[in-house]
Symmetry: C2
Subunit: 361 residues, 2 copies
């Protein structure tokens, strides 16, 4: 899950890996070439730029060739028509079940829908009205959602509630080729949790969309999406479904970063957690804008504002659920001590010179 601080990384210096072409290429047919061959719900291709896809959908709606808007794909998964000619090229839309439908779940759902996939949702709170307006099927229980057997179960709960949520999934209701994915800002914890709790045949994809409703409000282009394909069966649809799931974010323009969960957590502790910690410390300082703010100070004010707009639970999660966080906070403490020692040490040197060596200032 992303926070308002975890957005837009620099393209420079980053190890960027797109999803392997072998997986994604099958979702990149020239849809327009055969769109007129078959009526029924259509799905834009993952690799088509978003604006081009938007035109495609709009044009098709104009031509009355589409029976239902793209986002209603979930209503009629059974009537998705494929011909022998295109079945090897086009895959049916995914049905993604989102568990935890707060701000972040809703935000991710919009991207999934834009890419022509169906969203099913459940949450502790009742989002049925919102979902109804958005063309999303809302389920009052996790059990009811799982009975619909979504291809991907996307856990969008907070770090602190994820273990309870995962333990509550009625796995027996799901197909054995289901993929379970998460979006937490820490990655080793959900990886190990899912490996421990999920039936061994279930697929596992750990992801970290490093953006959120604020930073991604004008689109997801260039925003980093970290993922680790933790476990996928060689046989069956898991690899294809995983590729299709990742192609949602690729299709939205994200910078795809494939990285092990362990590596993610090392990098995140040394960057994201440090950033949040500085923001939290400055928030405690109660920094105020002055008539003589510098650019650097303005950047710190902005950082503080963004930090406190996230819950303390998120910050605590970044600390508690990342094995590298304690080391980083200890390094930060030593760095602060070192700076103070440099300041006071020099001051004391000058004073001693005056007092002992009788050197005037």
């Amino acid at each position: 899950m992303a926070s308002s601080l975890v957005h837009l990384s620099s393209p420079a210096g980053g190890r960027t890996a797109a999803a392997p072409p072998s997986l994604l290429s099958r979702f990149s047919p020239n849809f327009c070439a055969f769109a007129t061959l078959r009526p029924g719900p259509t799905r834009p291709t993952a690799a088509t730029p978003k604006h081009a896809r938007a035109r495609t959908c709009a044009e098709q709606e104009q031509k009355q060739e589409v029976a239902a808007p793209c986002r209603d794909a979930y209503e009629k998964p059974a009537v998705w028509n494929t011909t022998a000619a295109d079945s090897a090229e086009a895959a049916p839309p995914l049905r993604v079940g989102i568990i935890g439908f707060g701000n972040f779940g809703q935000f991710i759902a919009r991207g999934i829908q834009r890419q022509g996939h169906a969203v099913l949702a459940t949450s502790r709170s009742d989002y049925s009205a919102y979902c109804s307006a958005q063309g999303i099927r809302y389920f009052r229980s996790l059990e009811a959602l799982c009975e619909e057997q979504p291809n991907v179960l996307l856990v969008c709960s907070s770090i602190l509630s994820t273990e309870a949520v995962v333990r509550a999934i009625p796995f027996h209701k799901l197909r054995s080729d289901t993929i379970v994915a998460d979006v937490l800002s820490v990655k080793q914890f959900p990886r190990n949790l899912l490996l421990e709790i999920l039936p061994p045949e279930f697929g596992i994809v750990c992801t970290h969309p490093m953006f959120g409703p604020e930073s991604g409000k004008h689109g997801w282009s260039t925003l980093p999406f970290v993922y680790d394909k933790v476990r996928l069966a060689d046989k069956g649809d898991q690899k294809a479904n995983c590729g299709q799931f990742l192609s949602i974010f690729e299709g939205e323009g994200c910078r795809m970063v494939e990285m092990s969960c362990a590596e993610h957590d090392r990098h995140a502790a040394a960057s994201q957690f440090i950033t949040h910690t500085i923001g939290r410390v400055l928030a405690q300082l109660n920094l105020k804008s002055t008539p003589i703010n510098t650019k650097g100070f303005e950047a710190l004010l902005k950082l503080t504002e963004n930090t406190v707009s996230d819950s303390f639970d998120l910050y605590y999660g970044l600390f508690m659920y990342n094995v590298n966080a304690t080391e980083q906070i200890e390094k930060l403490e030593r760095a602060f001590e070192k700076v103070k020692q440099m300041l006071y040490g020099r001051l004391h040197d000058i004073l001693r010179k005056q007092i002992v060596e009788r050197v005037p200032i």
Copy 2:
């Protein structure tokens, strides 16, 4: 003196004060209206936008009406011609003597020259070749510079060497209406130093141009310039010369902020010093760019880079020469302790619940 961190403040929320119009208005004649009346060195007006002034100079050079380039005004202060008609409107260019001609002194000198004033310089190092190329008279000693009796003596030395520099000024060589100004990032220290050491008839203007060669390389427009007219004689030319000196920065487009030295130091400790401290702490951490940098982390990397590009002496100066800095560093320490206590406290609460109350995670 500015650091690479002390630049561009937000226009919002700031108390902004332009120099009083009563002082500056006399330096705002429509020069073009009488430029053709008199040959000789010309000076663009303070209130004319920079680009307009640049055109004015260029046009005049094209017309061969100007005997010497604007920056050579110092060569012929005696031949500055005024007529009875314009003497009330136009003031002769200032002769500004800069003590300490390192990067920052040179940077400020360029603005002074752009506004048509003459620069005289002296420094510990030999800048005679540079000055010769820039149309600046260089003096190998402070004594020699003072013999030229500049209107304004601008101290551009570092915080740490300012006291020695000021004590070395041969005041008896200067006119008694000389104005001494400084550009330090702390203000109460030079204010009290100048009040203590200068002959009582000398004018004192303490300033802080909150920008430097890096942040001001594309012009000084909107960059904050803080000033405090500490002591100006009611009689004589001091007030007029001070207005003319401040009009250099106003003419360059700076955001003029009039503020007492004490107020400056309170604000600067709570903003600039905190910013430098965070940058110094992060530099000790040896932060590295990661493949998953967030925007917030990128801002911290930039801050760190800017901080270490300034000397440790500057940072030490911000600490040692600002009476509010110790309080701020202590507040920062307490804020850091508070954040750690919030993290570890919550962790311990959870562990105790498990151990004592036997509540499973």
